[in-house]
Symmetry: C2
Subunit: 325 residues, 2 copies
């Protein structure tokens, strides 16, 4: 089994690679080669890994990756929502042209690989019902969402034509996101958990009643592994899937934090309303039906307590520093 | 008022240009310049017209058109469904890259024009309800439909960002299409009317019970003129509109033909079932709610009799040759 991962230096990419190297297999087939690509060279200490860096949309870049003849391609590469909104050209170049370059190279090489495309719930734009049904019409309200939807259309079309065997995952917000706070408007969903757990302050810029759908990084890796190995027959011409997630309010997040980190953790959250962030968050979907995703075998956490437990296990070695101090 | 029309040598393009030159105005503003573009040089005998030919996706082509500083751009250019399916590269180059090149040139010139984009009901893929609601999720099942949906996403995104003021029209099948039979699988909807009216034989490859939605070429031009002049405020972020049309069965078409052309006309239709055409036609939508399109002021015929009358007026000088002979 030969696997290519783009965006391999990103958060999900690194966790996916770690998991693949631990498993040494995918879908019951032994791992033979792992080709990693990102704008910065991905790190991975294994003789099976070929690590490459560069711009996927640059001439010849995608062809060079595809020359490794992957059986499975996990296409995670992309610029995030805020950057695609701030830099129109870069967003289209990376998120649309990069995806197209990769798929074109695959087509011209005649490979027919499984392609797992990282799409996003940002393909949807409001007004929303409280729970978004699986057949809700996507009307993106950001450039990022539009670029992801265009990627889905390409994946559908090339799959229909038998050029690839694609699955697009409409990722929910990933929480608890490890590492440092980033510039994403959704960052606080993770920040108000991650920072207090280790005794650091965090800012909550929106009201506690805000409801949002989340899945853990571990669940996100699980989505990718499932999409890479599932029977795609039941997808028909509709290759984009909404995976399950946990729809939870910020208040419920905080109560879950209190259960493991106590008052001391909760006291580290400063409520500092930010009208700009609040305006963005109000345009986001709250909850998804995701029945089709569940029926197709995608699995996520059932509660925010479980998301929190996964974070403590995977990122904190099972410890809760704020409760120990 | 300066107007650019791409695909100006096509059927709708020619009728639109004729209408604009007759009106000498658009939306109450006098016509100053009409820039026409197509892969073959559009013909128009007027000092106001600049006619250009070429490939819109070729380097510099779109910039050369936009250099005429149009206030309104009507982007009709594209390869049709059958060709986009047969030639993967050409379909994406013309229908996606051409559209993107045009919009990029507009953006870089800082023009902010009204852009009317010819999309298609092919953005929808089945399974369909009998009447498709306005918020039905588009899942294209052809490359053409996917390319048109990607164009819509671009029009939405650039409109949201204030770079253009766009409207995408999801055209229904145009009937009665004048001229010679073409290779479109939908050609028989027009052929079984157009040919018998002038005493020529026509083939019907599908059962009479097939229902399909149609509008006349005159209505299609009306859609474009309305989209070019309407208040786009009520569109919000959803710039794609399903215009109204007439949902009619092939049998009803034939009865309308009988009313104006008699048995003699109907006898010229040979029913010769074609499983290949029938297979394609069965994947098409039957009828559309189109409530939003009506509320936004788009107008089409109310019956197939009216579509037929429009054809006789516009293409046959008010005469019905088969009934005269």
């Amino acid at each position: 089994m030969r696997i290519l991962v783009t965006g391999a230096a990103g958060m999900i990419g690194r966790k996916l690679v770690q998991r693949l190297l631990e498993d040494e297999a995918l879908g019951g087939r032994a791992l033979e080669a792992l080709v990693l690509h990102d704008v910065v060279r991905p790190e991975a200490d294994s003789p099976m890994v070929t690590a490459l860096e560069g711009d996927l949309s640059a001439p010849g870049a995608a062809e060079a990756l595809v020359a490794h003849r992957p059986d499975v391609i996990v296409h995670l590469a992309g610029v995030v929502s805020g950057e695609a909104e701030a830099d129109f050209d870069k967003g289209y170049r990376v998120n649309l042209d990069g995806t197209r370059a990769l798929l074109d190279a695959v087509r011209q090489a005649g490979l027919h690989p499984r392609v797992v495309f990282a799409s996003s719930e940002a393909v949807f734009g409001g007004p929303f019902p409280d729970v978004i049904p699986d057949d809700f019409a996507p009307v993106p309200l950001t450039s990022y969402g539009g670029q992801k939807l265009m990627g889905e259309i390409l994946v559908n079309d090339l799959s229909r034509r038998g050029m690839i065997d694609g699955v697009s995952i409409r990722f929910p917000t990933i929480c608890v996101r490890p590492g440092k706070p980033n510039r994403a408007a959704s960052g606080f969903f993770s920040g108000i958990i991650r920072e207090p757990l280790v005794g650091l302050p965090a800012v909550l810029p929106v009201p506690r009643g805000v409801v949002h759908t989340m899945a853990s990084p571990r669940a996100a890796v699980g989505f990718v592994l499932h999409a890479a190995t599932m029977d795609t027959g039941p997808l028909g011409g509709r290759r984009a899937v909404i995976p399950p997630g946990v729809a939870v309010s910020v208040g419920e997040e905080i109560e879950a934090l209190r259960r493991v980190g106590g008052e001391r953790a909760v006291a580290l959250i400063e409520e500092r309303p930010d009208p700009a962030v609040w305006a963005i968050v109000q345009t986001w979907a709250k909850a998804f039906e995701a029945r089709r995703g569940r029926e197709l075998g995608f699995v996520a956490e059932d509660s925010f307590d479980e998301i929190l437990r996964v974070h403590i296990e995977d990122e904190l070695g099972g410890r809760v520093p704020v409760a120990e101090g």
